[in-house]
Structure formats: structure tokens, C-alpha cells
């Protein structure tokens, strides 16, 4: 594994963000709009006296964490799309760059994106709604890290599908994560779901993470069971999904699709 090649790939994306207004919008504008809309909803809920305990904390906290998952996934999937649109995959994979280095670079990219978006949303929430997510304390950190890993899993899965099926699947880079939203129980507790969906949700790491977040909010304690479940599931899924990516990459090389992806 070469750090130099990983940094090379990161520098390529940094150059891109440096002068791309559309890509900067992705970091500043959409998260800001999300926060404004959900912020007003929570203000309204508090005004009409809806019986949601700590509505601001509940919804804005969930929204910021949802964006962590969303941007972590996008950091990987959109990075692949950028290479596909620029017809740059041949330049990359005809160089000494390995698949492992490519994945590490995109995962690092997703962490940078999450840090930028998360930081800005925290700032906006504090400025506009006097909401400080950091009050939840350090106990939230392991859940945030787990959420980033969940984003990687969905991102690598999305990338595998796009690599295999080409441009017709590129919409998944924005839509895939929403498939997991209902069973991730971002804005509601898991017991709201019908029993069948509850069984499925317990197999999804983000469901444990958002349940854990709510437990942190209400009790101030770290729910160790949820933390262990989310960590274990994330580890298992990450191994499976990375193996799938390698397999898909080899299938694409075998079928000559790597040189045609994006056409």
C-alpha cells in the first residue's frame, strides 16, 4: 500500500473541489437547506406543543448524523463517478495504483467530506437554532465513527453496481442511501416499524446507531449493546462489500468493461 499514490488521488479531488462551484454547493448549500427546513419544523413542533421530548435535539441531531451517513456514502460513490465522467479510469488503473489504494483514497475523501459538511451543519445549527450537538458529549463519537463506516459500506456497494452496470446506474450515487433510510430509523424509534421491518432493521448498522443516539440523548449513557451490534455488523458488512468490490472489479476486467465504463 503506497501512501504517495493515495495522496495523489486525493490531490486530484482537491484540485477539482478548489474550482468547482457545483461541488462546493454540495458541501455548503444542500446541507444548509436541509438544516433550515428541519430547523423550522422543529421550531413549529415546539410551538404547537407536540409531545416530542427535546424536539430540536431529536430532529436536528438526527439530521446532522443522517448527513454524516449520506456524505460518507457520496464521498465514495461520487468520487468514482468523477473518474467515470472524466474518462480517467484507464489512466488510474493502467498505473501502479492498486484497488486497495483506490478504496482507501475514496474512503479518506469521504471522511474529509463528512468533516466539512458535519462541521458546517454543526455551525449552522448553533448559529440559527442555538443547538450544540457537542453537548451530547464524547459518548456520541463512537456512533459517528460507526456511521462513517456504514456510509463507506453503502458507497462501495453503490460503486460496485455503477462499475458493473455503467452510466444507467449512476443515479444510485444519490439514491442508494435512501433505500436504507426507512429501516435506519433516523427520525423515529425502531419500535414504530412493523415487526417484519423491525427484524430487518436490527440487521442494519445505522438502525443501532440512531437508536444509540436517542439513548444517549435521553439517558446520557452510552448504550453498549447498540454500539457493539453496530460495530460488529459494520465490520462484517465492510469485509463482504470490499470483497464484492474486488470481485466486481475482476469481472469488469474480464469482460472488458473497465475500459468502457461511462461510455
Amino acid at each position: 500500500m503506497s501512501l504517495g499514490r493515495i495522496l495523489a488521488l486525493l490531490s486530484r479531488h482537491m484540485y477539482l473541489y478548489k474550482r468547482s462551484f457545483a461541488r462546493l454547493l454540495e458541501i455548503f448549500y444542500w446541507p444548509f437547506l436541509d438544516l433550515v427546513v428541519w430547523g423550522f419544523i422543529t421550531v413549529y413542533l415546539e410551538k404547537v406543543g407536540m409531545p416530542v421530548h427535546g424536539a430540536v435535539t431529536f430532529f436536528l441531531g438526527a439530521l446532522i448524523l443522517w448527513d454524516v451517513l449520506f456524505r460518507a456514502q457520496q464521498g465514495i460513490a461520487v468520487s468514482f463517478l468523477e473518474e467515470m465522467w472524466a474518462r480517467n479510469l484507464m489512466n488510474l488503473f493502467a498505473s501502479p495504483l492498486t484497488v486497495g489504494e483506490y478504496l482507501v483514497a475514496t474512503m479518506t475523501m469521504s471522511v474529509l467530506k463528512v468533516t466539512a459538511v458535519g462541521g458546517l451543519m454543526m455551525l449552522f445549527a448553533w448559529v440559527f437554532y442555538s443547538y450544540d450537538i457537542l453537548l451530547m458529549g464524547i459518548s456520541l463519537l463512537p456512533f459517528v465513527l460507526n456511521l462513517v463506516v456504514s456510509g463507506w459500506i453503502i458507497g462501495v456497494l453503490t460503486t460496485s453496481i455503477i462499475m458493473r452496470f455503467g452510466q444507467q446506474a449512476e443515479v444510485l450515487a444519490w439514491g442508494m442511501v435512501f433505500l436504507f433510510q426507512p429501516i435506519s430509523c433516523v427520525f423515529y424509534p425502531i419500535d414504530v416499524l412493523p415487526p417484519v421491518l423491525q427484524s430487518i432493521a436490527w440487521m442494519v448498522p445505522p438502525a443501532h446507531i440512531f437508536e444509540g443516539m436517542r439513548a444517549v440523548l435521553t439517558t446520557g449513557m452510552v448504550p453498549v449493546t447498540h454500539l457493539l451490534w453496530s460495530t460488529g455488523l459494520n465490520f462484517g458488512f465492510l469485509v463482504i462489500i470490499v470483497a464484492l468490490f474486488y470481485h466486481t472489479f475482476n469481472v469488469c476486467k474480464d469482460r472488458g468493461m473497465l475500459v468502457r465504463v461511462g461510455e
Partner: protein, 251 residues
């Protein structure tokens, strides 16, 4: 080692290379060598298997059957070591549009972990007369300038083997001439081995030490340009090309 022995040692050894795509055979049991310091021309009509062969040599397509060795190493098991010493340029590739020429070259230099990056970029930009476009966005380049950029990225890494897939297509005659002279001179001074494809037969005759003619994925002729012309009883390489291409495509 005497110079003649060094010239004779193959740096690329391709044996029984075959690629089948769901019932269609794109490359059919071809074997060839490229010696150190040799320019091997790969000729053939569209669909003959030239680009698929180059993609297999770059590790972008997995062969169905056969082996590729470079510098005595198997590409299937020593990909990183081999690709560190290999590069390619093609009319059919691009570089990230939102980066400037210089930024793209910097990324490539980092990808190949080159030393003295800025100096190398300055050198290659000067050699390929790209000073006026080095800070230009890649999306604003003409097709000829883009060809020069992809050639610059290939040469900058100082490869020992270079695959050039129609590198002079869409360039004006003046720059084609300069690029050919540059490649010849660079190849002589560095002992570079080149696999070269082009649809310009005169260019092929000028550039190649030896030529392989592919037809429907098979090697149908191999030798120097005069040998091939003589074997087919034609006046020049273009006539040989037309004869073989019409055989492939039918009446």
C-alpha cells in the same frame, strides 16, 4: 553485455494471448516479443484486436488464455512493479477536464511517485511545446492539445515500455513531425521500447522497426515494412493494409 545482446533481449513477451468476449474472439492466440529499444508497429483494420491487445498489456483486460511477461516478470502477479515502468497514450483517453494541464501532470507524477516533479513537468512541457497551455483547463484544450497532454503524461514517467495507440491522430502535420522526431530521439537515447498503432501507413513505415499485422484477432503478417510489402506483392504498406482489410471485411 554488448549493445547488440542488450538490443536482442525482449522486454515484452506475449505468448498465446487470447481474449474471448461471450462467444466473440477479439484476440486469437497471438505471440510476439518487443525487444529493448525496438519500435513494434501493430497494424490492422478496425476491430482487428489492436486496442484489446494493448488493454491486456496494460492489465485493464484479463486475457482468457495466454501470458504476458515484461522485464522477465509475469503481469498477472507483478502488476505494480511492471506498470511502474510502463505507460501509454491514446487518442481514445482523456484526462480530468476540471484540472489544468499542469495539475493533471502533477497528479500523474504523484501516482507514479516521481522525484523532482516540478522539474520534470517543466522539461516535458518545454519538449512538447506546451508552455502556452500549461495553466489552461483541460476542458478548454483542442483535440490536438489533448493528444499532446496524454503523450506528456506518458513520457513524463520515463517508462521503459510505451504503448502508443494512434498518438498522432488529430494533430497538425507540423506537430506530428515534431512528436515523431521527439519519440525517435527519446527512444534512441533512453533505449525505450514502443508498441505503436496508427492508421497512417507512412508514419508506420517511418516509425516501426518491425510490424505485426492483425486481422480478426490473428497475426497474419510479421516482419519489417519492406518484407511485408514484398511478401504481399504490393507497392507500399497502404496497399497491403487495404488488401488485408478488404479480406477481413469481405467484398
Amino acid at each position: 553485455m554488448p549493445a547488440s545482446d542488450s538490443m536482442a533481449s525482449p522486454v515484452v513477451e506475449v505468448r498465446n494471448l487470447t481474449k474471448r468476449f461471450q462467444g466473440f474472439t477479439a484476440v486469437d492466440n497471438i505471440s510476439f516479443d518487443i525487444k529493448k529499444g525496438e519500435i513494434l508497429g501493430l497494424l490492422g483494420p478496425n476491430g482487428a484486436g489492436k486496442t484489446t491487445t494493448i488493454h491486456m498489456l496494460l492489465g485493464l483486460i484479463t486475457p482468457t488464455v495466454g501470458s504476458i511477461h515484461m522485464f522477465g516478470l509475469d503481469l498477472a502477479t507483478h502488476r505494480e512493479t511492471i506498470l511502474q515502468q510502463v505507460n501509454f497514450s491514446s487518442t481514445y483517453i482523456s484526462m480530468p477536464f476540471s484540472l489544468t494541464v499542469e495539475e493533471n501532470l502533477k497528479v500523474i507524477a504523484r501516482l507514479y511517485e516521481l522525484k523532482h516533479i516540478q522539474q520534470r513537468i517543466d522539461d516535458i512541457v518545454k519538449k512538447l511545446e506546451m508552455e502556452d497551455i500549461r495553466h489552461r483547463l483541460t476542458r478548454k484544450l483542442s483535440s490536438g492539445q489533448m493528444s499532446r497532454l496524454t503523450l506528456a503524461k506518458a513520457i513524463m514517467t520515463e517508462p521503459k515500455v510505451l504503448f502508443l495507440d494512434e498518438p498522432t491522430a488529430s494533430l497538425d502535420p507540423d506537430i506530428v513531425n515534431k512528436i515523431k522526431s521527439f519519440l525517435k530521439e527519446y527512444q534512441r537515447s533512453e533505449g525505450l521500447s514502443i508498441l505503436y498503432t496508427s492508421h497512417n501507413m507512412r508514419e508506420m513505415e517511418e516509425m516501426s522497426d518491425r510490424i505485426i499485422f492483425l486481422q480478426r484477432g490473428k497475426i497474419v503478417a510479421e516482419g519489417t515494412a519492406p518484407e511485408i510489402i514484398h511478401r504481399y506483392g504490393q507497392r507500399d504498406l497502404e496497399e497491403v493494409f487495404l488488401k488485408l482489410a478488404r479480406e477481413q471485411n469481405g467484398p
